[in-house]
Every structure is written in structure tokens, then in C-alpha cells.
Symmetry: C2
Subunit: 353 residues, 2 copies
């Protein structure tokens, strides 16, 4: 009987989803309206029809001490806020309005109650900033690592909702913010220890420790009507892009030349002795958004991002062989098109060796 580590996180998830009798990732179930299930497991969140004209969007994400946050680097308040952002980011990927949350806690008996209160306080403040409220929870005892599991509910209008599965060949690919920075920070902390506290790395550490989900921007983008699919960057750009491509049945070519320089990522890669592309596209929970956009909507999406002060880069098109992800190098000085190679960086596997 294979173990989780032998199968890997995404294969186990696939088996669990299949065993429930649910459809493939991003698929709308044929029997959905009867059970009120518009979109089932496999996307960033489930979509549930609670009333005519009103969909509930539901997600859950959990943090384990030592795995998703490190006590030496995050205060309890920051760790709590980050768990809220991780869940808010799933709703942003669905362009939902965050409303209510439930928090289940597994805590050790010898933990200070004040730290638990601070964790919840940071979480509740981050939810409140996005318009949501913590309305209930559960507390149980554990003897090992503490964990925090949040379930978050949002709402959205049924019309015009997108999923991971709507990208079409020819659609543009946009990405918000500076992906790869959170993962770069974690790698620096592992490699340099306290040395990662040097001021030059502060923007990377901030991306890792105090991210902000793109909730407002997602809502504004939705109003453009140009987005055909989206997902958030919670595993890493390459891994999350792969999930979107798989759900949409398309491939993707990423153009290195279209990608804005990020000197911090490049400096971190040099210190770490890694390919900068592997740092940028590899494991990283940035809580940014990857969007598929109909070409005609590009300018309006750019305006919306500029108005919100959020960087938005157009980094290629969807198309080509389904699920094939390639990176096209910059053109040579002579103007010849750059060569392509497989996109470096795969998503993070919680059960990876």
C-alpha cells in the first residue's frame, strides 16, 4: 500500500477527489444545480448556489507550526494574519467577496494562552481588513506541532464568475506583484540563518511574512469582464500555472523578456547559487494572482492594476500542447528569437523528501 510520500501531494489529492465521486479539477458537475454545487473540489474554492442569484464561495487552508510558519521569524500575530491571507487569496482567485470564517485550533497544553490570542487577533484583523469576520471555531489539544485550520466563506454573483478552467489558446497571461519573493526569503533564511535579517533582504522577508491577498484587485478585474481564468500563487508560479493549464486544457509559453527584472530575486539566486528562473518560478507562496485575459481586455486590466497601485506583468500567451509549460529566453543581441526550455521550478510538495 503506497504511502503519501511515495505518491506525492498532488497524486494523493487526485485520489481523494476521485474517491468522492467528484469531477476533474475545475469541472462543473453535471448534477450541480440539484445539490447546489456549482463548482466542486479541485479549484481554488468550491462554489455553492445558496439562492437564485447568489453563490457562496468556500475554501479551507491550514498552517502547521514549523512547516508554514517559524516561531523565530513570525510573531503569533503575523502567523495568524498570514493564514487569513492564504485563505483570502483563494477567494481572490475566484473574485469573491470575503464574509465569514471558522477557525479550528490544535494547541499544546503547555502553550501560553496569550500567544494563541495574538494569533487569532492577527487573523481576525486581516479578515476584517478584507471585510470578513471570524464567527466560530474549535479548540482541541495536541502533543506535537500546533496547527490552525481556517475555513473561509465569501459570496459572488453567479454571472461572470471564472474558474481555473477557462483559459483559451491565445489568451494573455498576467501576473500580479513580485512572484518568487516569498520562496526566495525562505531559502535565504534556511541558507543564511540570522544573516537573512540584513536590511537588503527586507522586501523579500516582507513578501514571505506579511503578504496581502489581492482581494480588491480581483473584484475590480472581474468588472472588466476580460478575465477567462485565474488561480493564486500558493505553491509557486510554475506549479500553480501548471494546475491552471491542466484545468483549462492548454499549454503556456512564458516570455522571459516580458518579465520585469527583479534585482532582489537575482541577487538572492546568486547568493544561493541557483538559477534565478528557478527561484522566481519555483516553490513560493506569494498569494499573488495568475490571470488569463482575453486580448481585447488588456488595456482595461492594466488601468485597473495601475489605479490600485499593483504591478501587473503580461508574460506571454496560453496555447500550444496542453499542459506543456515552456520558458522562452530573451532575444539575442542580433534580434533572433530566444530558445525555449521547460519552465523551471515545480510546485511545492508537502510530502516531498
Amino acid at each position: 500500500m503506497p504511502t503519501l510520500r511515495e505518491l506525492g501531494e498532488f497524486e494523493v489529492l487526485r485520489l481523494l477527489t476521485a474517491a468522492r465521486g467528484a469531477g476533474p479539477a475545475g469541472a462543473t458537475l453535471p448534477g450541480a444545480p440539484a445539490a447546489g454545487i456549482v463548482l466542486d473540489a479541485g479549484d481554488d474554492a468550491a462554489v455553492l448556489r445558496v439562492a437564485p442569484g447568489l453563490d457562496l464561495v468556500a475554501t479551507t487552508d491550514a498552517f502547521v507550526e514549523g512547516e508554514h510558519f517559524l516561531g523565530a521569524w513570525s510573531s503569533p500575530r503575523e502567523a495568524g494574519a498570514r493564514l487569513a491571507e492564504a485563505n483570502l487569496s483563494d477567494l481572490a482567485a475566484m473574485a469573491a467577496v470575503p464574509r465569514w470564517a471558522l477557525l479550528a485550533i490544535g494547541a499544546r497544553g503547555d502553550s501560553a494562552a496569550e500567544e494563541l490570542i495574538q494569533f487569532q487577533s492577527g487573523l481576525a484583523a486581516a479578515l476584517a481588513a478584507a471585510g470578513a469576520a471570524l464567527v466560530g471555531g474549535n479548540l482541541t489539544a495536541v502533543s506535537g506541532a500546533e496547527w490552525f485550520s481556517l475555513a473561509l466563506l465569501g459570496e459572488r454573483e453567479p454571472a461572470g464568475g471564472w474558474t481555473r478552467g477557462g483559459a483559451r489558446p491565445g489568451d494573455l497571461r498576467a501576473v500580479s506583484g513580485h512572484v518568487g519573493r516569498a520562496g526566495a526569503a525562505l531559502r535565504l533564511v534556511r541558507a543564511l540563518g540570522e544573516g537573512a535579517r540584513a536590511p537588503e533582504w527586507a522586501p523579500l522577508l516582507a513578501a514571505w511574512l506579511v503578504p496581502r491577498a489581492r482581494v480588491g484587485l480581483a473584484r475590480a478585474r472581474r468588472r472588466t469582464g476580460a478575465v477567462t481564468a485565474a488561480t493564486d500563487v500558493s505553491d509557486g508560479f510554475a506549479g500553480d500555472l501548471a494546475h491552471l493549464c491542466e484545468a483549462s486544457g492548454v499549454g503556456a509559453e512564458v516570455e522571459e523578456s516580458a518579465w520585469p527584472q527583479d534585482s532582489l530575486i537575482e541577487r538572492a539566486a546568486a547568493v544561493l547559487g541557483l538559477d534565478p528562473a528557478a527561484v522566481r518560478f519555483g516553490p513560493s507562496d506569494d498569494y499573488e494572482l495568475i490571470l488569463a485575459i482575453a486580448p481585447a481586455g488588456r488595456e482595461e486590466c492594466e488601468r485597473v492594476a495601475a489605479a490600485a497601485g499593483v504591478p501587473l506583468a503580461f508574460v506571454g500567451r496560453f496555447g500550444g500542447a496542453p499542459a506543456r509549460l515552456a520558458l522562452r529566453a530573451r532575444a539575442s543581441a542580433g534580434g533572433a528569437a530566444g530558445a525555449t526550455r521547460p519552465l523551471p521550478g515545480t510546485g511545492y510538495d508537502h510530502f516531498g523528501a
Copy 2:
């Protein structure tokens, strides 16, 4: 800085609830309609107004391996089903119709994937039997005890909904099923080990390992209009009754003579060398219901229970000093009223020494 163990589970929960700025247990928030929060943390579930005429009822409950289920006594399928019933029981306490659930899992890399699938399969089957579906989840790696956190959503009509906080002096107190049996089974397993598998204890073990939440009965009882408050027995009869009395601002006298004999509880208490009342009323997650019923509604509630084939015992009235819980002994052979003593058995404290 006090630890969770020093403060105890319920004091920590009180602090966490207060730190969020939420109202007292069972209270309706004054600002509720604006945020859609009809009933906040502190009851069996939160109540959220999603649309005019429609409330969402949301709860979360988690199981930790070795704490809430023991691998030697529960198959993964049974443990999963029991986690579903624990959550369904919270919705039964609110007379809600179960609809959708999200499951977050913390699993070890060296666990067999098949056991995880079986756990989820048992959980999904129990949800389906109650009309609900698993629509999403999350999987993360842990190194210690595995845990499973379920968030369950249901619906109910706003009119006629009850909480823990509506019991009035003079209301009758009813309890379904055979409370105390689940706790008796766990005590027998701890005291006798494999000896607890003797056929005579089978009904107790079934109450512990394969409980069924009273979802359908709660809906039928709601239609009587006679229920003024309810809670489920997830900590133990005395502890859960105390929570209901506290939320309602009433006391309760439990009449020993009104309580049907349970020869299995009595035999288990004798083997364990314990007061039978402490076994019956003490820590036990039976997932039965404690109900406050207006006196005029007694007969109709009895009819509903009889039609459903569920035992329902009327075991005293609410009243007396707020939060004072007493047990009145059977009348003497001479007919003199029995003496009262404090109700034995306090709820289970996860952080208790």
C-alpha cells in the same frame, strides 16, 4: 503568562471569544444584520444571514488521532464517519439542514494513502446519509499525530430558530437516546483493554464508535414550535447542560426518578468502581440532544420522537438559581421527596491534567 492547561479549555475559549470582540455565548449581536451575523461564536454553530429568508448555519470540529479516535478501536472509515457525525450533531442542535462540508487534513508522509481515502470515504458517506456533500479540502504534512478538521454548512429558515440561550424557568428538559454510553465505553477500554470487546459491552462500544447525530429528529421537533433551546451532548451531559443553562441564565434540577434505567451504564459503573451518575452525566460524546421544551409542547414532542423511534426522556425542569445544576434523588419508599446534590460529572477538558 498562564498556559492553556492552567486556564482550562473553556476559560481559553472564553478569552478567545472575548478577544474577537464577539458577544457572550448565545447572544445575538446588536450589529448583526449589517455583517450578516445572526448568531456568533459561543453556540453550537454560527448563524449567518445569506439572503432574506435564508440563514446559513456553520460549524467546525476537529479530530486528533489518539485523542478523538484510537486506531485499535476505530477503522479509518468509522473514524471519518464519526467526525462527520460530530459536526452534523452541531447542526442538529440548531435544527439546520446539512448541505456542504470542507475537510482539512494533516497527514504523515509515511501513512498509507488507502487509510486516508477510507477515512474520507466514511466521512463522505455519513454526510451523504444526512443530505450533505464534501465539496473541498486541504492536505498538509505533519510529523506527529494526524488530524482532520471539518467545517460543515447547513441552512435553516430564520423564523423559529432556537439557540442555547432560550430556555426559560419552568421549561421542561428532554434528552434523546442514551447519554453517557460513549464515555462509559471509553472508560471500559482504558480499564479493561481487549476485555472491553466482550459482547455484553457491544451497545456501549457502538454508542462510542458509530454514533448517529439527531439531524432528522431535530428538524421534526422544530416543526412542533415547542423547543425553546437546545444543545448537543459532545462534552458530556452535565457539562453541556451547564453551557445551555449559562447561555439561558437559568438553573436546572435533574430528577433521577424521571431518568430511565440504563442497566449497561450501571454495570459499567460497577466494573469501573464509579458512581453510576458520574458515568451517565460525566464526559461522553454521545451526540444526543438536550432540549428545553415549553410545557404545552410535551405531548407533541413525545409523538415526534416515538414516530422516529428515538428514546426521549423528560428529566426535570429549568429554574432555580442561574447556572446551579442539581440532581434530585428518587423519593424514599415512604414517599418523602429525595434530597438534592450537585449534579455529578463535569464536561471534558481537552487540556485537563
